[in-house]
Symmetry: C2
Subunit: 456 residues, 2 copies
C-alpha cells in the first residue's frame, strides 16, 4: 500500500501543483482585517478538500476577531497510533508590493520554483501533508490514525489553536505531531529540530525622585534612574556575555557531546552570517561556539529603553523614571517562572542607592526539548532518507515556536519539528517561493513517515 | 551724595512701584513669536527711561528673529571704575494661565508682594538697578561710570548679547558686572555666587550589526548596542557616584576649607529637599556633603536613551544602534574640551566586543569661578549689610548661567553674581511674584554698592 500511495503521488503531481496554485491564490493575510473573508475562504478550501478526501472535518471558531481552525480526522485504525499534522493557512502581508517580480497572489513558476506569498510559509508545507494523506486514502487507507490541525492565526499570535488544544486535549490526543514550518539546513540536508529556546520578556522600571529635576541644580545629589538602569543591565550580563544572575545556569540541561559534535559538522557557513550582519566576529559567552550559544545557551538582551528626554538638542533633565524592555532566552531545563523570580531578585540587588526597580512580566514561553531517543525521531529520519536520499540531522532553534509549547503542554506527544522549505525561500519577504521538486519530495516524505510511524 | 540718593529712593517708592507696574504690564514673552512687538515695546520702555535719566542709550539689534539689547551708558567719571548692570526684559510664557490668581500681565499687589510674570525673573531685579542709578543722577551723579546691558533673549538662549560682548569687548570694558538674576538663600540672607558649574553635553551612539536582528535567532551571538551602552554608562560613573574617567578629577580646584565651612553653616534645610523629591536620602559621591556635591563636584547624568523598540508589548529585536544623551557638570579648574576628550577616550574603552561607539558634542559651557579675594566682593557684602542689615554669604550654583561665561570670557571683569528675589518667588511658574520691600531695599543695596565700589 505504501508503494501504491507513492505511485499515486507521482501520478498526481500536476494535480497537486494545480491545488497548490489554487490555495496560494487566496490572499489569506491574517493581519489585515479587510482580508477577513479571504482567510475564511482559505479555511473553507481546506475543509472542502479534507472532507472530499474522506476525513471527518470541520471549522472550529476562534472567537471574536479570530480565524477558524480547520480540524480533520481519520480515525480508521483503532489501536494504532495517531499522527497530527499541523499547519497554518494564514500568511504574512505581502508589502512591499513593488519588490515582487510577479504579484504575490498570482502564483508563478520560474526555474522550478513557485513564487507567491505563503508558498513556503506555510501553505506548501501543510499541503504536502494533505496530499500524502489523500494518496494513502486512495491506496486503501493509511496504517495509522490521522488528524489535521490547520490554524489561521499563526502570523498574528492568535489564541484560537492554543485554546482549542487546552480545552480539548483528550479528544485531540496524539502520539506524534508533525510541525513542518521551517527549512532544510541546506539543499539536500533535512533536519529535525530537537530544542527550542524559551523566553522571559520583562519591563524593568526604575524610579528615583517623584518629579523630573534639573541636572544643574540636582546633579550629584538626586538619584538618576537611567544611571541606575545602566548598572542593573550591566550587572545582569557581563562584558563577555555571561549572565550574572545567581542560580540561572544551574538548571540548564547541556546537550550531549554527540549532539554538540553533530552541530560542529553541519555545513553552516559562519562567514556568511558575518557578512550579513556587517561584523568581524560574533561576540558572546566564552567557551561556547556561536551555534552552541544560539541553540543551547540562555542569553539576555535589551530591546529598548523608555523615559527621559529623547528630542533634539540637550535638555538637562534628571528624569523621574526610566524603563527598559529586556528579555532572556531560556534553554531546556529552565522554567520561565523560576527565571523571572531570579531576575527580579537580582534587579533589586543591582538598583543603585535612592532608586527603586520594578520588574513586570510581559511574555513568557517555556523552552522545548524533544526526546531524541524516541523512535519517532529515527522513523522521521528514515522517511527523509527515503524521500530525499539523506537522513535528517538533529538541530535546534534559537527562538521559540509558540505552537510547539502548546502541543507539548497539552498533548504530551512526540514532536516532529522540521521544515520542508529551503534556505532562500524569502519567508516574510517579497518573492517568497517554494521549490516544486522539494514540495513533491516532501509529499513522499510524509507518505513514508506514515508508514514508518505505523511500523515503530 | 550717597545720603541724598538714598533719600530720593525712599521718597520715590510710590513712583518706583508705578514704574514696576508699567514694565510688568508688557507681555514680553521671548519664546512666542506673536509677542515679538511686546518684546520690542519693553525694550523701548527701558530705552526711554535710560535716556530720560540722562544716559547715552540705544537699542542694539540682535539679528533675524532676535530681540534687541538695551545698552545705556553714563561715562561721567573718567578714570573711575565702570560698573555694568546686567538684566533681561524678556519673560517666560505664563502658562498654565488657569493657575494664576490674578492675570500674569495685570500686576496685582497682595500681602506686600507684587504678582506678575517677570516680577522676580528678571524685571524687578534690573529695575531696582535702574532706579538706583536714577537716584544717584538726581543726587548729582554717581561716583563711578555706569552701563546697563539689558537683553531680551535670556529665556530662549539667544546669542544677541553674547555676540555683542564678543564683538565689542573693548567698548564694553568694565571693572565690575552686577548679575542679579537669582534669590537670597533665605529671607534676610543675601548671597554672592562665587562658582557655577560648567557643562559637557553629548550623545553616545553605539552600533552593532548593520541591521535590526531577531533576538531568538541571534541572541547570544550578535552584539547588542543597548547592553554595550549599559556597560559604557555604568563604567563612566560607579554605583556610589564616583566618575570613572581617568584624569577627570585631576583638574578640579577644590574650594577652600573656609568656603566649605561657610556652606555647612548655611540655613539650607536638606529635609525640605528630601520631602520635595520624595526621597529618604540624597545619594552621591562618598566623602562630600550634598551641598559640596551640588556646588563643587563634577557629576555625570543620563537624560534619555533612544533607539530600539519602545512600543507596547514585547518585540524581540536586537537593534542595530542605541543612543544616550549624557552630560557632565564641570567645576572650576575643568575645561570642556579636555573633559570631552577624556570622556570620548573612556567610552571607546568601555564599548563591548562587536560594538562601536561615537561621541558627539551637543553643548558645552565652562565653569565659572569668581575671585572671592577681589575687593569688589567685600564691597558688595557691605552694600548688602547696609541695605538689608546682613552681609552676604558666599554660595555657589550647581547649574550654569550662560551669560556669566560670556561676561567672564570677554570683559574679564569682577563678577558680582547675586539675586534680589526670595525663595518662593515662583520663577517660571504661575503666580510669580516679588516682595516689594525686597525690591526697595535692593534699590538701596545698588545705591550703596555704587558708593562702595567707588571707594575700593
Amino acid at each position: 500500500m505504501l508503494d501504491r500511495a507513492l505511485e499515486l503521488a507521482r501520478a498526481g503531481r500536476a494535480q497537486a501543483e494545480a491545488d497548490f496554485v489554487e490555495l496560494l491564490s487566496i490572499p489569506s493575510v491574517s493581519a489585515l482585517s479587510e482580508n477577513r473573508a479571504e482567510c475564511e475562504r482559505a479555511a473553507r478550501w481546506l475543509l472542502d478538500r479534507l472532507t472530499k478526501m474522506g476525513l471527518d472535518a470541520d471549522l472550529v471558531d476562534s472567537g471574536p476577531g479570530g480565524h477558524p481552525v480547520v480540524v480533520g480526522e481519520w480515525i480508521g485504525r483503532p489501536g494504532a497510533p495517531t499522527l497530527t499534522i499541523y499547519g497554518h493557512y494564514d500568511v504574512q502581508p505581502p508589502d512591499p508590493l513593488e519588490e515582487w517580480l510577479s504579484p504575490p497572489f498570482e502564483p508563478t513558476v520560474r526555474d522550478g520554483f513557485i513564487y507567491a506569498r505563503g508558498a513556503s510559509d506555510n501553505k506548501g508545507q501543510h499541503l504536502c501533508g494533505l496530499k500524502a494523506v489523500e494518496h494513502w486514502l486512495g491506496a486503501g487507507g493509511p496504517p495509522l490514525n490521522l488528524r489535521f490541525l490547520i490554524e489561521g492565526e499563526e502570523e498574528v499570535a492568535g489564541r484560537g489553536l492554543p485554546n482549542l488544544l487546552h480545552a480539548h486535549a483528550e479528544q485531540l490526543a496524539s502520539d506524534y505531531v508533525l510541525i513542518a514550518d521551517g527549512s532544510f539546513v541546506a539543499p539536500g540536508l533535512p533536519n529535525l529540530i530537537t530544542g527550542l529556546r524559551g523566553l522571559v520578556y520583562v519591563e524593568i522600571e526604575v524610579s528615583g525622585a517623584e518629579v523630573d529635576l534639573h541636572s544643574g541644580i540636582y546633579g550629584g545629589v538626586a538619584p538618576n534612574p537611567f544611571n541606575s538602569l545602566a548598572h542593573i543591565i550591566a550587572g545582569l550580563k557581563d562584558r563577555d556575555g555571561r549572565i550574572q544572575i545567581p542560580g540561572l545556569y544551574e538548571a540548564v540541561l547541556d546537550p550531549g557531546p554527540e549532539e554538540v559534535a553533530s552541530w560542529a559538522a553541519l555545513p553552516l557557513d559562519e562567514s556568511e552570517t558575518l557578512r550579513e550582519l556587517g561584523l568581524a566576529d560574533l561576540p558572546g559567552e566564552p567557551g561556547y561556539s556561536p551555534l552552541e550559544r544560539r541553540w543551547s545557551r540562555p542569553t539576555l538582551d535589551v530591546h529598548g529603553v523608555m523615559g527621559g528626554f529623547v528630542g533634539e538638542g540637550s535638555k538637562t533633565v534628571i528624569p523621574a523614571r526610566a524603563t527598559a524592555k529586556v528579555s532572556l532566552r531560556l534553554v531546556p531545563g529552565q522554567q520561565p517562572e523560576v527565571v523571572f523570580d531570579q531576575l527580579t531578585e537580582r534587579v533589586q540587588v543591582l538598583a543603585t542607592a535612592g532608586t527603586r526597580a520594578r520588574v513586570t512580566l510581559l511574555n513568557a514561553a517555556s523552552p522545548v526539548l524533544v526526546d531524541t531517543a524516541h523512535p519517532g525521531i529515527a522513523a522521521a529520519s528514515r522517511a527523509f532518507a527515503s524521500a530525499f536520499g539523506t537522513p535528517s540531522v538533529l538541530t535546534r532553534e534559537g527562538g521559540s515556536i509558540p505552537v510547539t509549547n502548546d502541543f507539548q503542554e497539552t498533548l504530551h506527544a512526540n514532536l516532529l519539528v522540521t521544515g520542508f522549505g529551503l534556505p532562500g525561500d524569502a519567508l516574510h519577504s517579497p518573492n517568497e517561493r517554494m521549490n516544486l521538486d522539494q514540495f513533491h519530495r516532501a509529499t513522499e516524505m510524509v507518505i513514508h513517515l506514515i508508514q514508518e510511524l505505523a511500523d515503530v
